[in-house]
Amino acid sequence: MEDNEILKEITDKEYKYGFVSLIEQEYAPKGLDENIIRFIWEKKKEPPFMLEWRLKAFRYWKSMHEPHWAKVSYPPIDYQDIHYYAAPKSYKEKPKSLDEVDPEILRTFEKLGIPLREREKLAGVAVDAVLDSVSVATTFKEKLEELGIIFCSINEAIRNYPELVQKYLGSVVPYTDNFFAALNSAVFSDGSFVYVPKGVRCPMELSTYFRINASETGQFERTLIIADEGSYVSYLEGCTAPIRDENQLHAAVVELIALKDAEIKYSTVQNWYPGDKDGKGGIYNFVTKRGICLGENSKISWTQVETGSAITWKYPSCILKGNNSVGEFYSIAVTNNYQQADTGTKMIHLGRNTKSRIVSKGIAAGFSNNSYRGLVQISKKAEGSKNYSQCDSLLLGDKCGAHTFPYIDVQNNSSTVEHEATTSKISDEILFYCNQRGISKEDAIGLIVNGFSREVLNQLPMEFAVEAQKLLSVSLEGSVG
C-alpha cells in the first residue's frame, strides 16, 4: 500500500531546461521530398557530391519501413508533418565571430550553462554549439588549429575538407544501415566534425552542445570523428530541449573512426525533454552511433548518461576490426514517469585478440520501461577475443519495468564471453531503514542511485561527472512520496 501512495505522490518536478528562446527562425516548409533535400543542400552550400549522396539516401529511405522490434511503443510518426530545417534568421552564414551572433542565442546558451564568449569560456573544454539545424559558435578553434586538430561544424568540414568527409562519411553507418540513419543521411543539417592528426593527443575536452528550440522541427545532426594513427581525443555531447506538448523527433548519426594505436573516448549526457508526468510531449531520441577500430591496438570507449527523452532508441556500438583493438560501453539509463528506453550496444569482434567490456546500469521509476539490448558477436577470425558484460537494473516502485535482452554469437572456440546481470529494488523497507537513520527518502534514493552508478560515472571526464551526478538525482526527484 505504501508503494501506491508513493506513486500517487509523483510530483511534477519542472524540467529545468524547458524554456523557449524568442529567436526569429527560418524554416523549410513542412514535409519531405526531393525539393526539400535540394533546399537543405543549397542552404548549406555543399559541393555536388553531397546532393547525390543525400538523394540516394532519400530514395533508399522511401523503400524502408520504420523499425518496430524495440520494446517501445508510440503513435505513428507523420514524416510529412515535420520541418526538416530551421535556422535563426539573423544570419545566412555561420557568424565569423561572436559579435555577429544574435545576443538572444548567446543568452540561450548561457542559460544552459554554456558560455560562449571568450572570457567566460569553460576552461579546458572546447564547445561547438548547435541550435536546431545550425552550428552557431565553436570555441578554442584557433588554439586547436595550432596542433592541426580540426574541430568545426560538419557543414564547414564538408566545404573545407571535402576529401576527408567523402572518405569517411557513411563509412561506419552507411545510409542503408537502418530507417533513421537513411533519413538522417538525406536531411542532416549540422553537427560536429573532428579530425585529430597522427600522434597528437588533444589537450582539451571537445564538446558539442545540441539544443532544439524551434517547434514542430526534427533535429538531425551528424557527427564524424576521425582519430589518425597514435592520436587521442575525448569528446562530450550534451543536449536539451524546451518543454512542448508535441513529440519531437531527433534522429542523429555519429560515426567514429580510430586508426592504428588511436583512442577515442565519447561521452554523452543526454537530457532531452522527457515529457511531463503524464507522458505528454518529449523527444523521440532515435539515434545511430557506431565506431570502428580500424587499426591495430586502437580503442573506442562510449560512456552515456541517458536521463531525458520520452523514448530512447540507441545502441552505441564498436566494430573491432584491428587486431588487439578494444571497445568499451558504459551506460546509465534513467527512466521515470512514462519514459521508455531501449538502449545498449553491439560489440562486433572481427580482429584477433580484440576485447570488449560492457557495463550497463538501468534505473527505472514511475511507470517507465527500461530495456538493455546488446549484441556480442565474435567472428571466426577473431581468435582469442574476450568480452565481459555486466547489466544491472534498479527498480523504484512496482509499476516500472526493467528488461535485459543479451544476444551472444561466438564463432570460434578460443574466445571467452562473460555475462552477469542483477536486478535490485529500492523497497519500502530500504527507504524506511534510511529514514530511521535520519536520511530523507529523496536523499536515500540519491545515495543508492549514485552508488549504483558509480562505476559508470567514474568514466566521465571530471568536469562533467559532478553535473551528471546531480542530473541523476534531479531526474528521479519526485519518483517517491
Partner: protein, 255 residues
C-alpha cells in the same frame, strides 16, 4: 528527566487491532525490557515509535522529549534522537557503510545545529565505534549489510547506534539468531553505550539477553497490553514459568 511517555496507545494494522491500550514512561538513564510471547505486539510497538508506515494509531498519545512524536516523520524522529536497531536489517545496494553513516551522522548533526563532521574526525570515530563491536574496519567500505552474516548485521546495528548517539535506543529482538559469543559482543557494546542521558528499550522474546544487559525495569506484554511490570527478577520468573503462565490467566494482571 522524562524521555518518553506513551498513553493509552491503540494501534491497528489493516483494520486489526494489535496494541490495545498501552502505557509506558521512560526516563533518561533507564533500561526497560519488554518481554512477551510472539505476536503480542512488541515489534509493532518498536515500529510505531520509529514511525514505520502501515500502522494506524487509532487512539492514544506518545510524547518524546516534550514533542508529539506522532506528528513527526520517521527521519525527523531519528534526527531528534530515536534509534531503532532492526530485527531484520536490510541490505542497501551500492552504498558503503562509510558513506551511509556519514550521511546519517551529518543529518543528526544538522538537527543539532552542528557543522558537518570533518573527514578525519569521522574516520577516527568510525574506527573507534567499529572496534566497540569487533567489526573490522574493512566492513566500512562494504555495502551496507550486503553479504553480512546474521551476527555481523546485528553488530552493525549496534555500531550505528554508537555513531548516532541517540537519546532513546530501541533494540528489536537484537538477540534473535545470535550465538552466545555474538550475543556477548552485542551486549557488551550496549553496556558501554549506557549513560545517564540515554535510555534503552530492549524488546526480546527470551530472558537470555537480559543476563548480559541488566534492565532496570521489565514489562511483560501480552495480547497488546503491558500486563505485568517489575524489576530485573521478573525476567527470571517468566523464564522459569514460561509464557503459558500468562496465557492460562494465572496472573491477576491478565484479562
Amino acid at each position: 528527566m522524562e524521555i518518553l511517555r506513551i498513553e493509552n496507545l491503540k494501534v491497528a494494522i489493516d483494520g486489526k487491532q494489535i496494541i490495545k491500550g498501552l502505557n509506558l514512561t521512560i526516563h533518561s538513564g533507564e533500561v526497560h525490557a519488554i518481554m512477551g510471547p510472539n505476536g503480542t505486539g512488541k515489534s509493532t510497538l518498536a515500529n510505531v515509535l520509529a514511525g514505520k508506515p502501515g500502522y494506524d494509531v487509532i487512539e492514544g498519545k506518545i510524547t518524546f522529549l516534550g514533542k508529539d512524536l506522532l506528528e513527526l516523520e520517521p527521519e525527523e524522529r531519528a534526527r531528534a534522537g530515536i534509534f531503532l536497531a532492526f530485527q531484520y536489517p536490510v541490505e542497501i545496494p551500492g552504498v558503503t557503510n562509510a558513506n551511509f553513516m556519514k550521511t546519517a551522522v551529518n543529518e543528526v548533526r544538522k538537527y543539532r545545529q552542528l557543522e558537518p563532521i570533518d573527514a578525519y574526525d569521522f574516520l577516527q570515530m568510525m574506527k573507534e565505534k567499529a572496534s566497540l563491536v569487533g567489526l573490522d574496519s574493512s566492513y566500512l567500505n562494504r555495502n551496507v549489510n550486503e553479504g553480512f552474516s546474521g551476527g555481523e548485521k546485528k553488530r552493525n546495528e549496534i555500531f550505528q547506534l554508537a555513531m548516532l548517539e541517540p537519546t532513546l535506543a530501541i533494540l528489536d529482538e537484537t538477540d534473535s539468531g545470535l550465538d552466545i559469543d555474538a550475543l556477548k559482543i552485542v551486549a557488551n557494546g550496549v553496556n558501554t553505550l549506557r549513560n545517564p542521558e540515554r535510555a534503552f528499550l530492549v524488546i526480546t522474546h527470551y530472558q537470555r539477553l537480559l543476563n548480559y544487559i541488566i534492565p532496570d525495569f521489565v514489562h511483560v506484554m501480552y495480547n497488546g497490553r503491558i500486563v505485568l511490570s517489575g524489576g530485573k527478577d521478573l525476567a527470571h520468573e517468566l523464564e522459569a514459568k514460561g509464557y503459558d503462565w500468562l496465557k492460562n490467566g494465572n496472573n491477576n494482571g491478565v484479562n
